[in-house]
Symmetry: C2
Subunit: 506 residues, 2 copies
């Protein structure tokens, strides 16, 4: 056996379990519920799923796949397109499986990421037949060390009948020690989560299971699919500046200090750009407590702005991944990977007072946010952790450009076509046009702020026209709407390729 494998496989009794990916894949049967590691294309099982793809060429079978969050193409493109996935949860972000979800070929259970563990405990997700878990090592004392994400793997490992390990030796051994695995007991028999500071470690360095559950170990060198975020553009830069000015105002008002509060920032380019904006700012000693650490966080650590960053996954562009993996020792005491149950736990988000920044697909004049469904029907990615954070954060911020498709779509509409975050959960909205601070305001007080500060100039008049007529029509109800027209902007878009009214009339 390779020296490197011998070194990574500390628990010697497991050496006999080393098999090929095909042999491991053969353990999986039609109808199985399969848990897989992976969160935002990081730390996902890859070689066993690809062996399943091969197997599917000669055999018809289907499985249910539950993960931490989105996976790379091995599962969410190739395995899905091979027709192997019957049901998928709780999050995805790949065009391959997305198309199958929106054609009725794959059932998709889009769920709050902090809820999954409870559903596993109750057996609503499950019984889990197999967990396929990418690991960087198994220590002598039997800790399975995940790679660059934790996600739901610890709770899957606790409840799964069998565990298949993908021992991925392309990840550096220096990852050992950065994980902090804490799994609450059953509801009603559980202690308070013993964390009062986002920088605290409260658990183990890895996942402890009965070694007899480990049925196969496959050696892998497959790298993660790299992060797909695009660099900041002028508009995301503007949004970042608007947000920084807002934080400055909050400090002046005595509601925040220069260290702010632990920051959560959602997956994606806008959120990443917003974080990037801190690099040249006066803010310091920042702490990140998020679900995913993207490039910006490591740049902020390098810049001395962020002193600690915890999440459940690290998703980097290829270039930054090389840099971070080459200097992991430098970051080791400044980063920490937790389970998604902990990174997204309402108990901790509320206690620690997080500032949360997530991306909206569209929002309405009253502050309701759609973050999942294009035109109300077509699933984009999923709600992910945005609900966990927005609902419980000290400050729940949503960011979006005010328009899409070159101006044919207004991100601000009379009524969102699908609601993921209600008016009660949205504190602040930022577009490249400006900011609307909705805290403490009644619906009708929010309207002028959202239209005047955040909507694209092309749509302001049209929004005011709708609102004024809705007030008139209802006699100024709590939330004025004209139900015949509330979704007409989306209908117009489908028919005339634009939300602009003049074009519809023409």
């Amino acid at each position: 056996m390779d020296a490197i494998i011998q070194k990574r496989l500390g628990l010697k009794e497991l050496e006999s379990k080393i098999v090929t990916a095909d042999e491991a894949a053969a353990l999986i049967s039609n109808g199985d519920v399969v848990g897989m590691s992976g969160f935002t294309r990081a730390g996902d099982a890859k070689v066993v799923p690809m062996a399943l793809v091969e197997r599917a060429k000669n055999e018809k079978f289907k499985i249910d796949v539950y993960t931490g969050a989105s996976l790379g193409p091995e599962v969410d493109k190739y395995l899905a397109e091979a027709g192997v996935i019957r049901k998928r949860g709780p999050f995805q972000g790949d065009a391959g499986i997305r198309n199958l979800i929106n054609s009725g070929d794959v059932l998709y259970v889009d769920a709050h990421l902090s809820h999954n563990a409870e559903l596993v405990r109750q057996g609503i997700i499950g019984p889990i037949k197999h967990l396929i878990l990418e690991a960087v090592a198994i220590t002598e004392d039997g800790f399975i060390i995940p790679t660059n994400s934790v996600g739901n793997s610890p709770i899957f490992a606790e409840y799964a009948e069998n565990i298949i390990i993908e021992l991925n030796i392309s990840h550096p051994e220096a990852l050992v020690g950065i994980h902090d695995i804490y799994v609450p007991a059953e509801q009603g028999k559980r202690e308070a989560i013993p964390m009062t500071d986002a920088m605290q470690r409260i658990g183990d360095i890895g996942i402890k299971v009965d070694p007899a559950k480990i049925k196969a170990i496959v050696i892998s060198e497959e790298p993660d699919a790299p992060s797909l975020i695009v660099p900041p553009d002028e508009e995301t830069q503007t949004m970042a500046n608007i947000l920084l000015d807002f934080f400055r105002d909050e400090i002046k008002a005595g509601r925040l200090t220069k260290q702010l509060m632990p920051l959560q920032s959602g997956v994606g380019s806008v959120a990443n750009a917003v974080l990037d904006g801190f690099a040249d700012s006066e803010f310091e000693d920042l702490v990140v407590a998020s679900e995913v650490l993207q490039d910006a966080v490591f740049n902020l650590i390098d810049a001395g702005k962020v002193k600690f960053a915890a999440a459940t996954s690290i998703t980097l562009t290829e270039e930054l991944q090389k840099k971070v993996y080459g200097n992991l020792e430098k970051y080791a005491d400044k980063i920490c990977l937790r389970t998604q149950e902990i990174s997204n736990h309402p108990e901790l988000i509320r206690r620690l007072g997080l500032i949360s920044i997530n991306t909206a697909l569209e929002l309405d004049i009253y502050g309701n946010v759609n973050s999942t469904h294009v035109s109300g029907t077509r699933m984009m990615n999923g709600i992910g952790g945005s609900g966990d954070f927005a609902r419980n954060a000290r400050l729940g911020i949503f960011v979006t450009k005010s328009y899409a498709k070159g101006g044919a779509i207004s991100s601000i509409v009379p009524m969102v076509s699908h609601v993921d975050h209600t008016e009660h959960d949205v504190d602040v909205i930022v577009t490249e046009q400006g900011i609307a601070d909705l805290r403490g305001l009644a619906p009708k007080e929010r309207v002028p702020l959202i239209i005047e500060n955040c909507a694209h100039p092309d749509y302001k008049e049209q929004l005011w026209d709708y609102y004024n007529r809705a007030v008139e029509a209802t006699g100024s109800h709590q939330t004025p709407h004209i139900l015949e027209e509330a979704l007409s902007w989306h209908v117009n878009l489908a028919k005339n390729k634009t939300m602009k009214k003049e074009v519809a009339k023409a």
Copy 2:
């Protein structure tokens, strides 16, 4: 001074603060933000607000009123109709103020009840000029003892500049000792809430403030407005039985035990009837951890079914109030009144694994729930605590009759006209027709359960017709809808007084 007043006013230095209601009301100025005690028409300030109503006959002034939850008619009818209330939060349930909210005369900030305390700490609600607080006593060591609700009074007391006490001697002194007041510190500086069992007491028997803040004490004998719940009818009885059978099935499946988990049941007749259903059941040693204790809970204590019940308010019908107040000693070690921040805290709801039962106004074929807005625009009561509980509960149940207005309205519609609880937060739906267990299901899997098990027979065909055409029109998207038609049932209702399609055509 009356002996009874002397006895209730333990802190003797406060005797000089006793004034008339008019004198106390004179302390309040135009533009003030005023906190008031009271939650579900229990423990609310009454005589000072009525003095404000008198004052408003000769003087134009407006104030913002924040409370625990809904108040009796003194504030939410008379004070509102006197034109004194500019803004109101976070909950109401009176036709008087409701009409003013829906005519644009009163601004209404409908909010999650667990969120208010954080907003007070941040100064988003505030600065609070006065708190008007109904108390049953002030002890020698300076604890202000609220009457039959706690609500937001402790956090208001901490942040208010002035406190006006309504010392209500019609409440029995035996209330002293049933409160358990625990107020978390600021976010980021806070410990875990030290409760791992719903029966635990973690705080003080009353509210401690700097006595210098108490600017006036008014003696009152005004009783609370009695609870308005109506007795169970055949249909609510049926819903209760369906729910009990569901719990039995959960026990068989190993997901619950005969003690169930701590029960939360929302305000209202349906929820009360469901609880009543436990009286003749085999369930025992039940614990209630709710926001309000209605008649049913005391009946269940009497029947030996409930061993402990905690909430933030006790709201009883006149008859039961007499019985309970006459025997308070009997209940003293079995009940407990907490702040609404604690009764509704996500941290505790999740940790303790609550079963939550709340009322829906309408719900859609995918499981989204509207619990606040009639036809999407007109505010009914508010979201109250339903979001705190449904989101974080182990089991989030919504109950509603399948129809309203004699069948002209279907409570199950293609798309709800307003969303308070998204598809991600609704586990189980119960109508008098049956039950839909939505846990772990994708949107399209939920549809047949909701239509077949829960919809009224008069509307099943019409719902299937919409759904089937929506699947066809979208090519089976994640959440099929026809946006032109999604809200047409409400439009039909407005135009033709019915959601039935045939009538619309006729």
